[in-house]
Symmetry: C2
Subunit: 347 residues, 2 copies
């Protein structure tokens, strides 16, 4: 069936609709795009004709003529990770409700990334670009801006463009404070480095850890902080490293649930019990967290995508767009965190 181009008598054009409705193409066009200054009766007749003919306007033609594409480009670093899929879902829901087409660009590796920002394939292809969990550096941002279309970010900040995200520092504090409140004093952190996500921005989730400990008057032991690339395996490895310390932590704060789950796996394999021997907390409220009874700090992911979608649509309509929306996170206490076995202070 490939190569077979269309129905019996070729596609239906605006001219066909106009003829059937007994008006000029100009009027038909106005009627269909809900312009003012079209008699109600005429508008109805045109719509009726269009319906009967199953008319679908050629986006190419109307785009060429109007200069608008009706498309929104979405840039993501990953597709198979939960956060991105969920956020994308929220975004797509909004956009398709507004009849915008979604153009998907996945920039997986540095190569794809460079090509994208060099060739700017999105140029002329979309009316706006959404960066979904995709941080860019200044140079990339500048190049992107040269496309001349609206830019919206979700999950990160991009210059002063409208963006929606959580307060990473606050989320980190919610997690670490929870551990502190439980009485933990020797708290490890599994930090994840994901250059795709935030090349420019410093790790707010890490800063929150240091700040929380400082505020609680707990000294920071650099040995308790382990950096790994994002992945459950990374979490497993990091946990192994922490367990190798002469004075291992009684609780561990991981930057994400997936990493936390990896850490829990290592603990189990080692024969240690969670939370009896070690408490573990993550961030995200990944579905996996509920399944594995992991305490975490929940963030509304779908909602962030949806909000980004709303921002894009508002921007496209010329409406004012809030520059910075922060969605709230909240602590979800499950079965992976508990007070330390022996109160801190005793060893």
């Amino acid at each position: 069936m490939f190569g077979h181009t269309g129905g019996v008598s070729g596609p239906v054009n605006l001219a066909d609709v106009a003829r059937r409705a007994g008006v000029s193409p100009a009027t038909a066009s106005r009627a269909l795009s809900d312009h003012p200054h079209v008699a109600e009766a005429t508008r109805a007749r045109v719509w009726e004709a269009a319906r009967e003919l199953e008319y679908v306007a050629s986006p190419e033609a109307s785009g060429l003529a109007s200069g608008r594409t009706g498309r929104v480009a979405v840039v993501v670093p990953h597709l198979s990770r939960w956060w991105f899929g969920a956020a994308l879902e929220g975004l797509v829901a909004q956009l398709s409700a507004a009849a915008k087409d979604v153009l998907l660009y996945r920039l997986g590796d540095a190569d794809a990334r460079r090509t994208f920002f060099t060739d700017l394939p999105a140029r002329r292809r979309a009316d706006a670009v959404v960066l979904l969990g995709f941080g860019v550096d200044d140079e990339e941002r500048e190049r992107l801006e040269r496309i001349g279309v609206g830019i919206v970010a979700a999950g990160t900040r991009v210059g002063s463009h409208p963006s929606v995200s959580i307060d990473d520092h606050a989320a980190g504090r919610q997690a670490v404070d929870h551990l502190l409140n439980l009485g933990h004093r020797r708290i490890g952190m599994i930090e994840t480095t994901d250059p795709e996500l935030d090349p420019g921005q410093p790790g707010h989730r890490s800063a929150a850890y240091r700040r929380a400990l400082a505020d609680a008057g707990v000294g920071i032991d650099p040995a308790l902080v382990v950096s790994v690339p994002w992945s459950p395996e990374g979490g497993a490895r990091a946990m192994g490293q922490l367990l190798g310390l002469s004075d291992p932590p009684t609780a561990v704060y991981a930057h994400s649930d997936e990493v936390a789950v990896g850490a829990v796996g290592t603990l189990r394999r080692t024969g240690l019990q969670v939370p009896r021997d070690v408490s573990v907390i993550g961030i995200d409220d990944h579905p996996l967290a509920a399944l594995t009874d992991l305490s975490t700090v929940a963030q509304p992911v779908f909602e962030q995508g949806a909000e980004a979608g709303r921002m894009v649509l508002a921007g496209l309509l010329g409406e004012p767009v809030e520059e910075r929306v922060t969605v709230p996170t909240h602590l979800v206490i499950r079965g992976s965190t508990a007070p330390p076995r022996s109160p801190s202070g005793e060893s």
Copy 2:
């Protein structure tokens, strides 16, 4: 920055490139699209001019003129589930390597679905449509075919259009046969019903279960088969139901890993040990399976998306496309399956 339309002196057009290269637009067009019958020197000059000017062709204009859009529409029922994200990743990798734009349509609910097949928004917007884990009934298929573009399916079959998928029956047998080989005779099945996935097709994974038991001479107890909607919670619930039987199963076969993980959760909560008390096996080899040490039947997901992409590209080039590619699955034995505690036969 919304509404700000482009750089200093407006976008660069083909005419600008042609002028700079000292040729006509016609020749410039031919040179850039690698047509034959263009002198090598001319071609080079044009490319050079295009590079200097950062020329990007207007897809609207070229689409309008050529009748091709350079876009491929992808239809998915979900985005936040692993399978879909992973398959999409494979697909996108192939398509973007061929400079095709990907248009994403998520048809989440019945409403979106109806609208999609009624209005056919994909009409004129793409050169081909890929159904990713998205089954359609005959009526929908017919409407889709009326768009007149190539159709490719991944994860399902759609009429006689090119498709790539696993052999669900074989996968199911690999799982159930594994349990049988371990000595289990009382084997439960957690069946998932997902209308989005396969409205037309019968459950091959279920048929495989019945066939495997029959081949092994094991009678089928209808009470051992539980149907739930796809989700870990569904799996948890189903497991609860199975445990409520007077003679519960010694092993459980779930249609997917996510469901299996839910089942394992219930077992743990009930105080039963896996695999000592009950063995559990799923299908997919979801990353989660490795993390939770779940035995499963692995399927190459990324690869299915990639193959679908290759099929689309071949079809677009007019090359012959295989009608039905079946990718192999293989049993992955992990720690969730073991021989039954008391050999079958004794009760």
